[in-house]
């Protein structure tokens, strides 16, 4: 049986590690390559790097950055932020990223998911989505709406429908990020995560809201997620990856302890 995964997300801006709070404002908290290596040695199962500036001029910096990471980290990692074309995706893949994440660009042009899956394989094409709770409407029956541009712009797209469409278009994995839970440390959005995990046949990574080890346990059990993504609780040293995994392992979650 496959293990559940602990995923650490590092937001990168101009080659620096940053942490955003509720999508409003960021602060620099160190060198992402050093941090990534530290998490790698501490047993993280996978890393995600988001290029949060995602501006054109930073593309080359990001490629260099990915190459640096790939020479330090010997576990899978994915890269997202500003990927708009198959060329962006293949460049990142060649630089050493195992997977690439698309978000806003896929909302703007869903065929991008298929193109990337065809070019580098479904298993490497990850669809990341930022989701906000809303009152259910005819357009958004699930009561969860996709938002883009770092959480600023509502799209009128139903999150559940988008998740299923993403799978049909060739995404091999989904990252479900709750804007409501992000930065709160009050726990993951279990209802949202479970609703989507139950509706698709591809792995789901839950994101947003981790504040303590029990939150990871909840989303991997009750939330039906395959992986739990954390950021600030490890970036600020509240918990180490090892502590989180020991807690999960101790509570009966199958997770890699051999590292």
């Amino acid at each position: 049986m496959l293990s559940k995964r602990l995923v650490v997300c590092l937001d990168v801006r101009g080659g620096k590690l940053a942490k955003s709070i509720k999508f409003a404002g960021t602060k620099d908290i160190g060198d992402p390559v050093t941090k990534a290596r530290q998490y790698y040695e501490d047993g993280v199962d996978e890393l995600v790097f988001y290029d949060i500036t995602a501006s054109r001029e930073d593309r080359d910096i990001m490629i260099e950055f990915v190459e640096k990471v790939a020479s330090q980290i010997f576990i899978p990692f994915s890269v997202g932020g500003g990927i708009r074309s198959v060329k962006d995706a293949t460049n990142l893949r060649s630089a050493g990223a195992e997977k690439v994440n698309v978000n806003t660009a896929a909302v703007n042009r869903p065929a991008l998911i298929t193109e990337i899956a065809d070019a580098i394989g479904s298993q490497s094409a990850v669809l990341s989505m930022d989701v906000r709770r809303v009152s259910p409407t005819r357009e958004i029956p699930s009561g969860y709406e996709i938002v883009v541009n770092g959480g600023l712009t509502p799209t009128g797209i139903d999150a559940l429908g988008w998740a299923k469409q993403g799978e049909a278009l060739g995404a091999g994995e989904l990252v479900i990020n709750s804007i409501d839970a992000d930065g709160t440390k009050a726990g993951y959005e279990l209802k949202l995560t479970r609703m989507i995990a139950d509706a698709v046949g591809i792995p789901v990574i839950a994101s947003g809201g981790a504040g303590k080890p029990g939150h990871l346990y909840d989303v991997l059990t009750e939330g039906h997620a395959d992986a739990a993504l954390v950021a600030s609780i490890v970036h600020y040293g509240e918990y180490t990856c090892r502590q989180l995994k020991e807690y999960l392992n101790g509570h009966g979650i199958k997770i890699r302890m051999s590292y």
Binding site: L2, R5, S71, F74, G96, G121, Q123, G172, P203, R256
Partner: protein
């Protein structure tokens, strides 16, 4: 010097970087002469068997690799490389290199909750000792990404299995060739240690 065969099948620089991490010099080449003259070969790869075989044939790398294997040098297969050393693959009903008796077959899990590809961390259970598996303990996990798996013709070539809807072969050994379905270059410390053992390996299996 390790020679890594580049046959247009996936990102093989990660294998070179992992070799560098364990202090082994490795060159990447798609030149059949370099492969034929190699001291030690890694045959990696991610992708589909039909296009990989077409590329190997077109470039003459198929003959170079076969010749190198027959000369007795240590060869390590990884993922698609492992599948292609068998006689055929169910993927596109493709005849393969036939260095090892057996074939590559597709996952057909009865449990529909098991997703294909088999992607993520799973336990590698050693069923027969091999110098490259030394030190792997119960519960040790490696990273997998695949939809097909190797099925050697004789169980005696199976050295380790992984459970995904039943045990499947994830490490096979045949003479001076050892081949794994998982990715040692993406499996953290345990994977690097395996590459380190390959660096030291002279191509002999333990006397049984």
């Amino acid at each position: 010097m390790i020679t890594i065969i580049d046959y247009n099948a996936g990102n093989i620089r990660s294998v070179q970087r992992a070799c560098a991490e364990v202090g082994a010099a490795a060159r990447i080449t798609s030149d059949p002469a370099a492969v034929a003259g190699a001291e030690k070969l890694i045959f990696p790869g991610v992708g589909a068997a039909p296009s990989a075989m077409a590329f190997l044939k077109k470039t003459g790398l198929d003959k170079a690799l076969t010749g190198a294997f027959r000369s007795g040098i240590p060869v390590l297969g990884i993922c698609l490389g492992t599948q292609i050393v068998l006689e055929s693959s169910e993927e596109g009903d493709q005849p393969c290199l036939g260095l090892v008796p057996g074939r590559t077959v597709r996952f057909r899990p009865k449990d529909k909750a098991l997703k294909i590809p088999h992607m993520g961390w799973n336990e590698v259970r050693v069923v027969k000792p091999h110098p490259l598996l030394d030190g792997i303990k119960a519960g040790d996990e490696f990273y997998f990404v695949h939809s097909y798996y190797p099925q050697p013709a004789d169980k005696k070539y199976v050295y380790a299995v992984a459970d995904y809807g039943g045990d499947v072969c994830c490490a096979l050994g045949y003479k001076n060739l050892f081949a794994v379905q998982f990715h040692p270059e993406k499996s953290g410390r345990l994977g690097l240690e395996m590459l380190e053992r390959f660096v030291r390996w002279e191509g002999k299996q333990d006397a049984q």
